[in-house]
């Protein structure tokens, strides 16, 4: 009896692997009793809420070298999974090459959380607010597992219905293709990210939308990617809306069709604080408005407030 409750009262053991391989091996050895921890901010809220038990073992990823920082590699922007969100915001490379991601990160939680929470943690939660922006930026994930390093498209990983829990692997990097911006100098590239919550800051999201693409000199849209998430929704690309726009001009007909398509295809996970219809119509409003801003009328009316265009 005495032993049992003392055991229950024990804090989890904390492991500090030095390499990704060591971390993966430790997790394999400890199995379901162990949890990877980076910033720990999300884990903590789950423990406090009682939605997850405090595990017997925590594998602290903070001592692994090479998992944080932002650099250019093989035509990609590489972001180490252990990079704190605030460090991402302060990084000039991210600001230059993936401003949509910076814009999304700025809306995540509050200052104190962004100081410790990591981009990797936000991604592996599968509902983080950076995800729609990363989807729109066509990001890939670099995993380190027992069978070595593997890269997969973020969109593919998010569309897996349930992640395979038995597969032990660690997110090492997120990669964002730089895109040959100089070669298509005549096309106007655009992007936008919006997060709508129940408060202006430090709030869970109800709706997140991200879009990016190019407006060709002849007024047609190319390379459109649109994604949406929010709350407990696993963010996804809105492919039919993208297809509908590709090669079209953002005229009222096209925008009307996109509005309907976004409202139809965006399927938010239920939220006790907002009805689905509100979230669908808000997402549709935001997407079409960003496209309308590309038009002469839109630029005149909303240009000042619009997302920075490059």
């Amino acid at each position: 009896m005495v032993l049992r409750h003392e055991e229950i009262l024990q804090s989890p053991s904390v492991w500090r692997p030095r390499t990704p391989e060591e971390a993966v091996a430790r997790k394999r050895a400890l199995g379901a009793d162990a949890v990877f921890a980076a910033g720990g901010t999300l884990l903590r809220t789950r423990w406090e809420a009682g939605t997850e038990a405090i595990p017997r073992h925590l594998i602290d990823l903070g001592s692994i070298e090479g998992l944080s920082g932002i650099w250019l590699q093989d035509g990609d922007l590489a972001i180490g999974a252990l990079t704190a969100l605030d460090d991402c915001l302060n990084d000039p490379l991210l600001g230059r090459h993936a401003p949509i991601v910076a814009q999304a990160i700025r809306t995540i939680a509050g200052w104190s959380v962004r100081n410790v929470a990591t981009i990797g943690g936000n991604i592996v939660s599968r509902t983080g607010d950076s995800l729609p922006a990363l989807l729109a930026a066509d990001a890939s994930l670099v995993w380190i597992g027992e069978d070595g390093e593997r890269t997969e498209k973020l969109a593919d990983w998010l569309s897996e219905p349930i992640p395979d829990r038995a597969r032990v692997r660690l997110l090492a990097q997120v990669r964002i293709p730089l895109g040959g911006d100089d070669s298509i100098a005549n096309a106007k590239r655009f992007f936008a990210f919006h997060k709508v919550g129940r408060r202006e800051a430090f709030t869970p999201s109800l709706v997140t939308v991200a879009l990016c693409g190019s407006l060709e000199p002849d007024g047609r849209l190319t390379g459109i990617r649109i994604s949406a998430g929010g709350g407990q929704t696993v963010p996804a690309r809105l492919k039919r809306a993208e297809e509908l726009l590709t090669g079209r001009m953002p005229d009222p007909d096209a925008l009307g069709e996109v509005y309907e398509q976004v409202a139809a295809d965006y399927a938010p996970a239920p939220d006790p604080f907002a009805p689905d219809m509100y979230r669908k119509l808000t997402a549709a409003n935001l997407v079409v408005t960003e496209l309308w801003k590309l038009t002469a009328a839109g630029e005149a009316a909303g240009g000042k407030e619009g997302a920075p265009c490059r």
Partner: protein, 761 residues
């Protein structure tokens, strides 16, 4: 002149408790620890409504390191608490009525062990149907929370014949207004340290707004004389009404006495949400009519208030709401029916504004709707129907007359924001078509003090202590409002003392006189009254003593900084320290009186009122339905400004709370369970919401001969903002809001460019 740091000049003082608070150095009572102290925890019901079949504590008691496991059987006195009507069980005996109901409590050597011990208490429950809707709780076939039914209190008021009034009306507006279950969200959650003293007394270090009331209630529970209990209750990390009632004190006291050791309890935010009080959600139905000229002929109101399972001050809050749904307007006839209903939802109770916030949101909504029907400017419409000097109060009772209503009305009509509204008629601002701005205003008449029929004592004591300090002792509490700063400023300005001469003693039942509660916007005005009464006897006593000591005539002596000074030259003749040495015993002046009340036989009717007007500018983003407050103006007629910083702080802080009430805050419940269990889903405004313009215009002028001095401003800043925002939203998008917080879904619009052919290239 607007109130701010610049316009206040030298009267803008650094708060004595300010530096420690903003740097986080200040220890609150819940930061206190003692060697050898135990940690207490409360076992609360997992069901909103259930019968308790059995409670077995043996397993928990057997755990080494667990010192006490208490249930209802261990309460030596009354197993109930409640300021007005003690009907909340300290420990439930055979039935639980809400998700925060206490069933047992433990004290153990560590926090973790106490938490574990809770899991080892075996309680068998038999769930009962949950009564979660006040309206259906009133139906005869509803499950009853108590033998006497689900009605906690009814309060009706009538004047004139409303049926005849409506028959004569040209315009009638009917609407039902709903308000949220708002949480106080004080920074410091409930808790305290409970210490059995060697002499057999018990010292309670726990926040409350009325130390003597806690002492009385604890004495009743513990079955001990009040004199055996000392309650130390300041400083407090926020209260807003939420800590006036007992919370963890019964458990801490019982556990400490059972163990003979100090016990600390401190609610987590989760437990605070679950067990703590909230603002009463109310549904207020109003039918109001005017003649063809816009004169108000009839006003019919029904209020249904969700009290949760026990009384605390729900009846008093309802009485206040009844008074304030009538407010500053003349009606030909009035009929108000109201009921406060027991449910299995969370506990409702006292909260800054005390039922006025809900009432005035509804009342001001009616004024705006009627003005629109009449085609009259809504602000002019209010003036047309305003009570006039000499008129009685809302319940027909005599009140202390001021010209406050007209003064705040005029101040708003003349303010920068209202002129901007007039100029905005031909809007030339270039902004995206989905961003719509609007302006709105509201008028507030807010009663202060507890009202007729409720003991409302006041008093204080000044002493020249043996060490030469001028000691000011009051039974009030500092919970962030700036009470210490206000008291210090009054002593300096009224008596001529220096801050260094003073020692302020509050929040300790062993050391202070009973000054009544620090609630109902009353503490500042009662301190002012007390000092006014104490000034002549105390100053005379000090001068007489100095005269004796110095051999100088009293008429030549005045009180000043550092000591007694020469009346003419101002030079220091004897310091207070030296003066104290010459006296054989401390020089003391004490006063006892009561808050002024109206001479009527209507429980809760108020005598002193503060008036305010609020103008706001909002922005509605029709793509998201979200409302943003851009600018606000508050005129407040509350008599002289005692402490400029405190005054501004109260209006700003009250407005911040009101913004949450209007836009983001609601402790949402589903079948008696909170859906918002922590501050990640219960959302109070942040700096992002509170960054707009802010102007406060105090109107200090009182009628000649007014004896009551400064009126309280602790609550009034939290009342008028929500109806002003609702009016501004209507101005912006043409939609009427009848439910708070405002639902963005209501304000969502399909972009106009989808509906018409636009020139797009």
């Amino acid at each position: 002149m607007p109130l701010n740091r610049t316009t206040s000049g030298d009267r803008w003082r650094v708060r004595p408790d300010g530096p420690d608070k903003v740097t986080g150095r200040l220890p609150y009572l819940t930061d206190l620890s003692l060697p050898g102290m135990l940690h207490g925890r409360v076992l609360r019901s997992p069901y909103p409504h259930a019968r308790i079949v059995s409670i077995r504590t043996e397993k928990a008691k057997a755990i080494p390191g667990v010192c006490a496991v208490l249930t209802s059987a261990d309460v030596p006195g009354l197993n109930r608490f409640g300021i007005a009507r003690p009907d909340q069980p300290v420990f439930c005996e055979d039935r639980v009525r809400f998700i925060g109901d206490a069933v047992a409590a433990v004290a153990a050597e560590t926090e973790a062990l106490a938490a574990y011990a809770l899991t080892q208490i075996e309680v068998d429950y038999e769930p009962l149907p949950v009564v979660d809707d006040p309206e259906s709780a009133l139906s005869p076939d509803s499950v009853k929370l108590f033998e006497h039914g689900n009605v906690l209190h009814r309060s009706d008021y009538g004047c004139g014949d409303v049926e005849a009034g409506f028959a004569a009306c040209r315009h009638i507006v009917e609407e039902t207004y709903s308000t949220p279950r708002q949480m106080h969200t004080y920074m410091e959650t409930e808790g305290g340290l409970f210490v059995p003293e060697p002499n057999g007394r018990l010292t309670v270090y726990a926040p409350t707004q009325h130390g003597f009331m806690d002492r009385m209630q604890l004495a009743r529970i513990l079955n001990r004389p009040e004199a055996d209990i000392r309650v130390v209750s300041s400083p407090i990390g926020g209260s807003f009404g939420g800590k006036d009632e007992l919370n963890v004190q019964p458990y801490g006291a019982l556990l400490a006495l059972a163990c003979g050791r100090p016990v600390k309890l401190h609610n987590s935010r989760w437990e605070s949400v679950r067990a703590g009080l909230k603002r009463h959600p109310m549904k207020i139905t109003m039918k109001t009519g005017t003649d063809e000229h816009g004169r108000l002929l009839a006003h019919q109101v029904r209020i249904v208030s969700d009290a949760g399972p026990y009384s605390t001050l729900s009846a008093e809050v309802l009485n206040f709401a009844v008074e304030h749904v009538i407010g500053p307007y003349r009606f030909g006839a009035v009929k108000v029916e109201s009921v406060s209903v027991f449910t299995n939802n969370g506990m409702s109770g006292e909260f800054r504004g005390f039922g006025g916030n809900q009432a005035i949101f509804a009342l001001e909504g009616q004024m705006d709707r009627l003005a629109e029907k009449l085609g009259i400017d809504p602000w002019t419409f209010r003036l047309m129907n305003m009570r006039q000097p000499g008129d009685p109060g809302p319940l027909g009772q005599p009140i202390a007359q001021t010209d406050g209503a007209r003064q705040v009305w005029e101040a708003l009509a003349d303010c920068r924001l209202w002129k901007e509204k007039a100029a905005a008629g031909n809007r030339s601002e270039t902004r995206p078509p989905w961003i719509k701005t609007g302006y709105g205003a509201a008028l507030v008449m807010h009663g202060a003090g507890l009202g007729v029929g409720i003991p409302d004592p006041a008093g204080g004591r000044l002493t020249l202590a043996g060490d030469g300090k001028i000691e000011a002792a009051f039974g009030y509490e500092e919970f962030g409002q700036g009470l210490i700063a206000s008291l210090e400023q009054m002593l300096i300005e009224q008596f001529g003392f220096d801050a260094q001469d003073l020692r302020i003693v509050i929040g300790d039942t062993d050391a202070v006189p009973d000054s009544g509660s620090s609630t109902a916007s009353r503490a500042t005005s009662m301190m002012w009254q007390a000092l006014k009464r104490l000034h002549p006897p105390f100053a005379t006593a000090l001068r007489k003593q100095a005269s004796r000591a110095l051999g100088v005539g009293m008429e030549k002596l005045v009180l000043g900084r550092g000591g007694i000074r020469d009346a003419e030259s101002g030079s220091l003749l004897i310091s207070y320290g030296e003066l104290a040495k010459t006296a054989s015993e401390p020089i003391v002046a004490e006063t006892k009186f009561a808050y002024p009340t109206s001479p009527v036989d209507r429980v809760g009717a108020h005598y002193l009122y503060t008036y305010a007007s609020v103008a706001v500018k909002v922005e509605v983003n029709t793509l998201t339905g979200r409302v943003k407050l851009l600018d606000q103006f508050h005129a407040v007629a509350a008599g002289p400004v005692v402490n400029p910083q405190g005054y501004l702080g109260q209006i700003e802080g009250g407005s911040g709370m009101a913004l949450g009430f209007a836009l983001t805050e609601d402790a949402v419940m589903d079948k008696g369970m909170y859906l918002t269990r922590n501050l990640d889903t219960y959302l109070i405004p942040t700096i992002a919401e509170l960054s707009g313009g802010f102007e406060v215009l105090p109107i200090e002028e009182l009628p000649e001969g007014d004896k009551h001095g400064p009126r309280g401003v602790g609550e009034i800043g939290s009342v008028g903002l929500a109806p002003a925002i609702a009016a501004a939203v209507h101005d912006a998008v043409g939609k009427r809001v009848n439910k708070l917080p405002i639902d963005p879904a209501l304000l969502l619009e399909k972009p106009v460019f989808l509906n018409k052919a636009v020139e797009w290239r």
